[in-house]
């Protein structure tokens, strides 16, 4: 068929996007020139205008030369003046389709469509339709569902939409442990940075202005970080929606830059149910999806690196809701069999071997440093003890494996189907064989990287059980 007639340019607003992106790349030079802008010299201004003109021309050329064509079986992108390049993507190879709408796109019903396939080339999304009419998304979805080999079943229920309540957006921001970590480090930094004299004054002189000031500064710091964390949470999760339509999940979020992501159920590699310590206090879990495909690495500041299905959801609802959204996995609340409650020693032995001498050395040099090191060491031991107590697994329906782990203050339940495991491996070492202890690792693909998930120091009976009930069952 003739493709030429269908070749189309993007909406002129694409120029604006190209311009902004290029400007971002040059931003350091602008900063440099601004710093240099003290004299009467015209050069910095000339240089800046030159860059702006250069970028504008470049954006114009890009707009004129980047074109696309949509046919019933593939999308083709054209670029280049002298060195012409055509990228052809068939619908069945598409992993996810994402939509990104800049605020200045909204009045014109324009959007950016990002298409990802499972190719291993890292970097940005394989294809970006920089500025196209919104209804192109429907066209793509229509072509795509036609090329899908499994007929779309009518699996809809009235309960197929999830919205994040405002209360939960706030809770998400306030329980963000990375933010709390920042506060903590800032706090210790401030303490470190203060002279000792002030420190002792602080204890006795609450009425002292300096003391109040310091407490005030620390308090202000906490408020600022909490505020920033809240702001970030708002910008990202404002009007967060997840929805299932037949075999496709649609997730949309964002305040200024609204993003929409479409994920066919069959492309989901795994599911993570996270129960972070703080969020668990509020009886909330969060659910993350593991998806194959090139994650765009354009470095936007406000993108969620993780793909959340439910950023926060109440603990009682999580499994039933998960089942409504991803029915093909048939997830039920896992009855986790703990596998390493009696193996704390193995989780500790290397840490003891390296930690104890280090603490001895620390005490030798300085009492305070020693105590700090000891506290840190005890925390590490406590966390790895928790790890040994939490680790477990269960096999559901002979096809879905659930592994439970404790990772960085979070109990993670990872669900994966046998067909999504690329390789299964058992490993052990000379010393562990005698005790019939080993490790298990499942390798799968997340974004464009190989990832693995497994269990440490488990007995042979457990590996055998997993091999029989999960790996060899289907």
């Amino acid at each position: 068929m003739s493709m030429k007639s269908e070749r189309q340019k993007f909406h002129p607003l694409a120029m604006m996007v190209y311009f902004i992106r290029d400007l971002k790349a040059w931003i350091f030079l602008f900063v440099l020139l601004f710093v240099d802008l003290d004299g009467d010299s015209l050069y910095p201004i000339i240089a800046m205008s030159a860059i702006v003109i250069f970028i504008s021309v470049k954006s114009g050329i890009k707009y004129l030369t980047h074109t696309y064509a949509l046919t019933s079986d593939h999308i083709i992108l054209y670029k280049g003046i002298f060195n012409k390049r055509e990228t052809e993507i068939t619908y069945e190879r598409i992993q996810t389709v994402k939509q990104r709408q800049w605020f200045f796109f909204k009045p014109f019903d324009i959007t950016e469509v990002l298409i990802e396939t499972a190719s291993s080339s890292p970097g940005e999304a394989e294809a970006s339709l920089t500025a196209v009419n919104q209804n192109i998304m429907q066209t793509i979805e229509r072509y795509r569902s036609k090329s899908a080999d499994t007929p779309a079943k009518d699996t809809e229920s009235p309960d197929n939409t999830f919205k994040l309540s405002l209360k939960d957006v706030v809770l998400f921001g306030l329980t963000d442990l990375t933010a709390i970590l920042i506060v903590f480090t800032a706090f210790t930094f401030v303490l470190e940075w203060l002279p000792d004299r002030l420190f002792s004054n602080l204890v006795s002189l609450v009425g002292n202005i300096q003391g109040v000031l310091i407490v005030g500064v620390v308090f202000l710091g906490i408020v600022i970080v909490a505020g920033l964390s809240l702001l970030k949470s708002f910008l990202l999760f404002y009007d967060y929606r997840a929805q299932r339509d037949h075999d496709t999940l649609t997730i949309s979020y964002g305040l200024f830059e609204r993003k929409t992501q479409k994920i066919p159920l069959s492309k989901i590699q795994g599911i993570k149910v996270n129960k972070q310590i703080l969020r668990n206090l509020f009886k909330r879990s969060s659910v993350e999806l593991v998806i194959m495909g090139g994650q765009e690495s354009e470095g936007e500041s406000l993108t969620i690196k993780k793909v959340y299905l439910f950023p926060l959801i109440s603990n009682e609802q999580v499994y039933t809701r998960l089942n409504q959204f991803i029915p093909d996995r048939k997830v039920v609340e896992p009855k986790v069999k703990k596998v390493s409650t009696d193996k704390v020693w193995y989780f500790w032995r290397w840490k003891l071997l390296t930690g104890v001498p280090l603490i001895a050395i620390a005490f030798y040099f300085n009492m305070l440093v020693g105590i700090a090191a000891l506290l840190l060491f005890l925390t590490v031991l406590l966390l790895s003890w928790k790890k040994s107590q939490v680790q477990g697994y269960t096999v559901q329906d002979n096809r879905l494996l659930c592994l439970q782990q404790f990772e960085g203050f979070t109990t993670v339940q990872f669900f994966i189907l046998q067909k999504n495991v690329q390789a299964l491996s058992y490993s052990t070492s000379l010393g562990l064989i005698r005790k019939n202890i080993g490790h298990i690792d499942l390798t799968f693909k997340e974004n464009e990287h190989p990832m693995s998930y497994g269990m440490r120091y488990i007995s042979e009976t457990v590996t055998k059980d997993i091999h029989h009930t999960f790996w060899n069952a289907s």
């Binding site: 690329q422 390789a423 299964l424 491996s425 058992y426 070492s429 000379l430 799968f444």
Partner: protein
């Protein structure tokens, strides 16, 4: 203590290849050490700490080589593979042991590679790629490598029908 061993051993001649490879690695490591030590010596800086660093580098290189060399016979026994009706299984390692299962339906493509030492012994390395991982059988006779490759490719095509 009964560690399961897979069916197929690799050809005996692979030991020769491993010995040569480990010896070549040692030579390169020593040469590198000599050059760097020579530079220090030339600038009269080969004293104190640097002398100790340099000596321990040479000692370490030789110890690693000896360990590697002496363990080849043991290691050889633990490098095995097996092709079953639905998957290919790899086994490796003597001190740190692992067994890896790769179902045919996950295989993306197969590669064979042959370095100068392997060519000498008429061996080939077989590398199997999935969409996330690479797995290799360190050395196989050329006929065997071809046979496995065809075998596996046929099975990949068969199982492909059940894949979505």
């Amino acid at each position: 203590m009964d560690y399961p061993l897979l069916e197929n051993k690799l050809p005996e001649t692979l030991k020769k290849v491993w010995r040569k490879t480990s010896f070549t690695t040692l030579l390169i490591a020593l040469l590198l050490g000599v050059i760097i030590t020579g530079i220090f010596f030339y600038f009269d800086a080969l004293q104190g700490t640097w002398l100790i660093v340099s000596l321990s580098y040479f000692a370490l290189a030789i110890v690693i080589y000896l360990l590697n060399f002496l363990l080849i016979d043991y290691r050889y026994n633990f490098f095995r593979y097996e092709v079953t009706s639905k998957e290919i299984i790899f086994q490796q390692g003597f001190i740190f042991r692992s067994i890896t299962y790769v179902p045919f339906s996950r295989i993306q493509h197969i590669e064979t590679e042959q370095g100068p030492f392997l060519r000498r012994e008429q061996l080939m390395e077989l590398i199997i790629h999935t969409s996330a991982t690479d797995h290799s059988i360190a050395g196989l006779s050329i006929e065997e490598a071809q046979m496995i490759r065809q075998n596996v490719m046929r099975k990949v095509e068969e199982t492909d029908e059940y894949e979505e």
